[in-house]
């Protein structure tokens, strides 16, 4: 558990450094100019992440405490489902258009979080709110929505 975050930042910095070394050279001025600053950031992050990892070794109890938030399986699954719904929404958004995808997305979220028992309220909110935002953005604010 306690290695997840420092591990992730170490991984990020290594991948980042690798990508930086593979950056194309600049054709104007100093050919390495575009790489120097990313290199600095990459190494700084790597060093700090290692220090962080070491400090977390001492904090085992604290980190375990913090991660206790995931102990409720039901709610953890809900968060994962919410993220999955966000992903589905992203893929629906342009093909289905704003209105339909939003009604489905908001409806699904409400069913998930507000519960199936309040289905009528959920449907009403999903419909009314989707139409209202569509009207406000597309019609009143002239924002181009798909």
């Amino acid at each position: 558990m306690r290695f997840i975050i420092p591990g992730a930042t170490i991984l990020i910095s290594i991948v980042y450094l690798f990508l930086t070394y593979n950056l194309p050279q600049a054709h104007v001025g100093d050919p390495d100019a575009a790489q120097k600053y990313p290199l600095l950031i990459g190494y700084a992050l790597l060093v700090l992440s290692v220090l962080y990892l070491i400090s977390e070794l001492k904090n085992e109890e604290k980190v375990r405490e913090a991660f206790r938030i995931f102990s409720d399986k039901e709610l953890t699954i809900k968060v994962i489902v919410v993220l999955a719904l966000c992903l589905v929404y992203t893929y629906m958004f342009e093909p289905l258009g704003f209105l339909i995808s939003t009604i489905i997305f908001l409806g699904a979220l409400l069913f998930l979080i507000n519960g199936v028992k309040k289905w009528l309220l959920n449907i009403i909110i999903a419909l009314v709110f989707s139409f209202a935002t569509w009207y406000a953005f597309a019609e009143l604010l002239q924002v181009s929505l798909p």
């Binding site: 054709h27 001025g29 339909i100 449907i123």
Partner: protein
């Protein structure tokens, strides 16, 4: 009840397919539905302003009967908007500029100007070279002489990106005068406004940016504009031509449509746009923005773009930006 909801969604889905299917299948006279003008930029920028001005004038003067909407598709210096245009039918048109040529040559885009149907060039801006008020550089020729001697002796502000017209036009004039352009020291600022600030504060030795942004400060005596890329003297400012260098460089704006537009569709826009550029409304737009009329119809535009493509190809290689 949950099932019912699903059916409802499905029914609505079907309904939209049917509706959208109907409107595009008819053989009615062009344009047969709403027209989208694509601004490949966020609201508030130059392309957005151009698109909204075109929409406004075409609508107010009653030149186009159909409803027109401006759609913002920003990103990648026009790339995102033009990719979008490529997949549309003739009811979508987009604002463009020389980037439609340069992006590909700079290796930033797969799209070329030949992927689209040119409709018109509408307006142009000219580009100016300016120095701080206290600079001891006397005129355009003096400037070029100094750079010829030592190309790295002066810092040059440009914005917002290398490879844009402000940058390339200066590379071109310097190159023609025999300056080693690969050694020029450009500082790239975020916007034309930042370029102006840097110049006013004396943080750079000279700047290349649009004349509409430099004109007023020149009048107020805060900076000195040495030369413009125009083909004539503007407000007492000599062009490069006036100083004996045979060179003009427009920063033009135009319109294009998706690939494979029919003759009738192109003719429709030739009519509409040639009418538009004559209106008072459009002339006001030009004046407010500091643009010059540069109208070319679809045929002239095509020839012009071919010519521009050749020029940019050469220029980008010389600037060291080619791939």
């Amino acid at each position: 009840m949950k099932i019912k909801f699903k059916w409802m969604a499905l029914a609505m889905l079907l309904a939209t397919f049917i509706i959208s299917g109907c409107s595009s299948s008819g053989d009615a006279e062009y344009p047969s539905k709403n027209i989208e003008i694509i601004a490949p930029a966020t609201p508030g920028g130059g392309w957005d302003a151009t698109a909204r001005a075109i929409q406004n004038v075409l609508d107010k003067e009653g030149i186009v009967e159909q409803n027109m909407n401006v759609v913002n598709k920003p990103g990648g210096g026009g790339e995102v908007g033009w990719q979008y245009l490529k997949g549309k039918d003739a009811h979508d048109i987009s604002v463009n500029s020389s980037l439609v040529i340069a992006n590909n040559l700079l290796g930033q885009s797969e799209l070329t100007y030949e992927d689209f149907t040119p409709l018109a060039i509408l307006a142009t801006e000219w580009i100016s070279i300016a120095v701080p008020e206290k600079s001891d550089i006397e005129d355009g020729i003096d400037l070029l002489d100094r750079l010829k001697e030592d190309p790295a002796s002066l810092t040059i502000a440009v914005g917002p990106a290398l490879g844009n017209n402000d940058h390339l036009s200066f590379v071109r004039v310097a190159e023609e005068y025999g300056v080693d352009v690969s050694k020029l020291r450009f500082l790239v600022y975020e916007s034309g406004g930042d370029v102006l600030t840097a110049l006013l504060g004396g943080h750079v030795d000279l700047a290349t940016f649009s004349l509409s942004e430099s004109l007023e400060q020149n009048e107020a005596g805060n900076i000195r504009v040495l030369a413009t890329t125009a083909d004539e003297t503007i407000d007492g400012i000599p062009s490069w031509q006036d100083q004996g260098i045979d060179f003009t460089f427009p920063h033009w704006r135009g319109l294009m449509g998706p690939p494979d537009m029919t003759e009738e569709e192109i003719a429709y826009w030739d009519n509409a746009l040639s009418e538009m550029v004559e209106t008072e409304g459009w002339k006001n737009v030009l004046e407010n923005n500091g643009w010059d009329n540069y109208y070319m119809n679809s045929k002239e535009t095509k020839a012009f773009l071919d010519e521009q493509n050749e020029m940019y190809k050469e220029l980008i290689d010389k600037a060291g930006l080619g791939n």
